[in-house]
């Protein structure tokens, strides 16, 4: 039995154990916790964060960070909502193009991917630190969202689009379907494709990756584009669920997704971690939020507790890594 497999297993098992303990405790503390309705509720609630966090996992695995995903979420949602609601006028003419729900969705995704591509381009072409490049994009995307919406919510988007957020198929809410599908796809992408291997290699040792002939720039740009597109997916889900694009949607979500990734055991220095771990991280945060709400803990305390959980999770992870190194 290889030691790394054992420790990796233990690390995952430990987060699972933490989750199980939380579920157990909450089901004892609140009779409203362990119900089917509440279960769907939690899954629906984490679907947005999980979309963002899958993208964030790719970015962090590659050795970077993305502070712009919350802002890209808002931009994608607003763009899709605006296109759907009012169409788009061809400049200099009176022609107004109507946009179908699927057209709006595609545009939202494309906007997210494009914003992410710009992040990747800035990082590789101009050698900007990811922190700075995505901080810039954070501001740009927030500003564009305000310009596009004029600062007001865009509401009344129609049933067809709304199903993306509130619909269900075979008894399971659409956002949960999307979340499961994306999770499956990206577990395969990270673990079973050349791109995934290259991603781990770039994050684990960029110099070695370059000397092995990997195209580090192309991989980096792809990673940020995917993170942007996934933020777009999250933006569409949020917008559809509320039947409204809020200009301030996704405020602070980038931090929640970083928290989920880190709690899920992915190393902020890159090259180590997994999408599966991030799913657990999202579940832990989601269950914690839900449980504290059910227990009528004040939202202020909720924040404090969430912070403590993040610190504990990472401290445990570090202690584990130290034990293995020495």
């Amino acid at each position: 039995m290889s030691e790394t497999k054992a420790t990796a297993f233990f690390a995952r098992f430990r987060s699972l154990l933490a989750l199980a303990l939380m579920v157990l405790a909450l089901s004892l503390l609140s009779d409203r916790f362990l119900t089917a309705d509440n279960g769907w509720n939690i899954l629906r609630q984490i679907s947005v964060n999980l979309c963002l966090s899958i993208g964030m996992t790719l970015v962090i695995l590659s050795g970077g960070i993305d502070l712009s995903v919350g802002a890209i979420l808002a931009l994608s949602g607003a763009l899709a909502a605006g296109l759907l609601k009012t169409g788009i006028e061809i400049p200099g003419t009176d022609i107004l193009l109507q946009v179908t729900p699927s057209g709006a969705i595609l545009n939202g995704l494309a906007a997210g991917a494009a914003a992410g591509w710009i992040n990747g381009f800035a990082i590789t072409r101009f050698k900007l630190p990811p922190f700075v490049a995505t901080l810039g994009m954070f501001s740009i995307a927030r500003g564009l969202t305000m310009l596009w919406t004029g600062g007001f919510p865009i509401t009344g988007l129609g049933d067809a689009f709304g199903r993306l957020g509130t619909g269900a198929f075979l008894g399971m809410p659409t956002p949960v379907w999307i979340m499961l599908a994306l999770t499956g796809v990206f577990i395969v992408v990270t673990k079973r494709t050349r791109f995934g291997r290259h991603l781990y290699a770039v994050g684990g040792n960029v110099r070695a990756a370059r000397l092995t002939g990997l195209n580090v720039s192309r991989i980096t740009i792809a990673v940020y584009s995917l993170a942007g597109a996934l933020a777009g997916v999250a933006g569409l889900i949020v917008t559809a669920r509320l039947d409204s694009a809020q200009p301030n949607a996704g405020l602070g979500y980038e931090l929640d997704s970083i928290a989920a990734v880190v709690i899920g055991g992915t190393s902020l220095s890159g090259g180590r971690g997994s999408v599966a771990g991030t799913v657990l991280g999202c579940l832990i945060i989601g269950v914690l939020n839900n449980g504290l709400f059910l227990l009528n803990v004040s939202p202020f305390w909720q924040q404090v507790i969430k912070g403590v959980v993040i610190l504990l999770a990472v401290a445990l992870d570090k202690a584990n890594a130290r034990n293995r190194d020495s």
């Binding site: 290889s2 000397l211 092995t212 002939g213």
Partner: protein
């Protein structure tokens, strides 16, 4: 605070029965060492003999697994380098540990800055103290200069000055002269005399025997993690020291099989690489070379001669700074990236395995297959079973000792890590293998194996360029030897012509200048 100066000859620090293991290697085994006041102990040994590990233990960088350290007769245990420092143990590391974007003065007094009554840094005194210190040490460096703007040799002297000014009772110097000019070496040796008179106990690691006559009293020799000799310097001949260090002649490590080289694989004409941040116009200047199938071409040079840069240039790593022509199997090539070079049949095993060669968080299998993932696909996806089939022959061929190919590459010994890198490149079926310091930090048995593999690969028809700073290694392995000096080709020898003296002379800058 400062105790009376110890009497000359009194034991200041002693290591007793020190043992230390790292995953896969026994770095030190039952080592005893005593260092006396006012004397300099030269610690000798080949690369990987355990010198640096021992010094790191004395300086509190990490604790020993077994054994104790006694400072002036008392057992001490350092939790970290700061504790060792405040106990009076100073160390100048081989790698510079200065902060580049602080000034010389700030670096000299880092962590013990003079303070004003208000608790702020007393910049005036900092500057005055630094100026005085630099003058005392005869260092022509402005205390207000940024360390990043200094030459490497100057940085090294600043580092030494810092250690000296900390009033250490024990001072460890790890290859302090590797980038010093002749004059700077004299300055340093003057300082060493000064320190001895003040009763400081000195440990000096070096590969340069010539330096020792002027400064050295005692000698200790490590080999494969054990102390194999301890004597007064005047009782040892140079030959005796070399014999103790090596244990055996490097040539004995390899029975080279003579065989005629085949057709030309690679020809470089007028290869130049403009400088990075070293302050020299060319890192590699107008170098031409050729390599045949089945040939091992050795490249020797001192630190800074451009050895690594030459290999990297051939491998397409600095396309934008490189000029010159390159023919691979007669075809003109212009590599824009390593990927191009790999596609043309080249492979490069870099000098610093951990920094450039391996992705440490990944498994052995993932590292070994990284350059040839296209052979691990099933229906477009990476398949672990295909991957295992693909790399296992290379793991077997290089006899890599593993628990499993899924094990983390971090836990392997240096020799096995190097073999994983060789496996990775052989899995791309290369025609030309560039090896940069292929046995650095590797124990002697793995070294012997790697030599045998190099010979075997040449016989199998590869062309190999082996860069090494170990002269015996270059001489043992090579069919031909090229010597680099300050980025330029200074000599070429056939195997028969290449004697240690000739090759070394061609590599040394000063003599070269006299000859030309």
């Amino acid at each position: 605070m400062s105790p009376s100066a110890p009497v000359e000859g009194e034991v200041v620090i002693a290591a007793v029965g020190i043992g230390k293991s790292f995953p896969g290697t026994r770095a030190l085994d039952g080592v005893n060492l005593t260092v006396r006041a006012g004397r300099l102990l030269a610690l000798l040994g080949e690369n990987g003999a355990g010198k640096s590990t021992l010094m790191n233990i004395l300086a509190g960088v990490f604790p020993p697994d077994e054994g104790t350290i006694q400072l002036e007769g008392r057992d001490v245990r350092f939790a970290n380098p700061q504790e060792a420092q405040s106990a009076g143990i100073g160390i100048v590391f081989q790698e510079l540990s200065l902060i580049p974007y602080l000034t010389v003065a700030e670096n000299l007094f880092l962590g013990r800055e003079p303070l004003t009554a208000a608790g702020l840094i007393d910049t005036r005194r900092l500057l005055a103290d630094s100026t005085a210190l630099l003058r005392r040490l005869d260092l022509a460096v402005e205390p207000t200069a940024l360390v990043a703007d200094l030459r490497i040799g100057q940085q090294q002297l600043v580092e030494i000055a810092r250690a000296i000014s900390a009033q250490a009772r024990v001072l460890i110097l790890d290859e302090p002269t590797s980038s010093l000019s002749g004059h700077e070496v004299e300055v340093l040796h003057g300082l060493i005399g000064d320190l001895k008179r003040r009763g400081v106990a000195l440990i000096y690691i070096t590969h340069k025997f010539e330096e020792l006559a002027a400064i050295c009293e005692d000698v200790a020799i490590l080999r494969d993690g054990r102390l194999v000799g301890e004597a007064l310097f005047r009782d040892l001949t140079r030959e005796a020291m070399v014999r103790l260090m090596a244990g055996r002649e490097t040539k004995e490590l390899l029975q080279k099989t003579p065989h005629p080289p085949g057709e030309e694989l690679l020809r470089a004409t007028g290869l130049s690489l403009t400088g990075g941040d070293v302050g020299r116009r060319f890192l590699v200047e107008n170098v031409s070379l050729s390599l045949r199938r089945g040939e091992v071409l050795g490249v020797f040079g001192l630190v800074g001669a451009g050895r690594t840069e030459l290999l990297e240039a051939l491998f397409g790593l600095h396309a934008e700074r490189m000029t010159g022509e390159l023919l691979i199997e007669g075809r003109p090539e212009r590599f824009r990236s390593p990927a191009d070079a790999i596609a043309a049949g080249l492979a490069l095993a870099p000098e610093d395995r951990k920094r450039d060669g391996l992705v440490l968080p990944m498994s052995v299998a993932a590292n070994a297959s990284l350059a040839s993932l296209q052979h691990t696909l099933r229906a477009g996806f990476v398949s672990e079973s295909r991957e295992a089939e693909h790399i296992q022959p290379y793991i077997d061929r290089f006899r890599i000792k593993l628990a499993s190919i899924a094990q983390s590459v971090v836990d392997l010994s240096g020799g096995n890590q190097q073999k994983v890198i060789l496996a990775k490149w052989l899995a791309t079926a290369p025609k030309i293998l560039l090896l940069d310091e292929p046995t650095r930090g590797i124990d002697v048995n793995a070294k012997r194996e790697i030599y045998a593999f190099i010979d075997e690969l040449a016989r199998a028809g590869l062309g190999l360029i082996v860069v090494s700073s170990e002269l015996p290694e270059v001489l043992a392995l090579s069919d031909r030897v090229l010597v680099l000096r300050e980025g330029r080709l200074s000599a070429e020898f056939s195997r028969a012509e290449a004697t240690p003296e000739r090759v070394l002379h061609a590599a040394l800058p000063d003599q070269g200048r006299l000859a030309s």
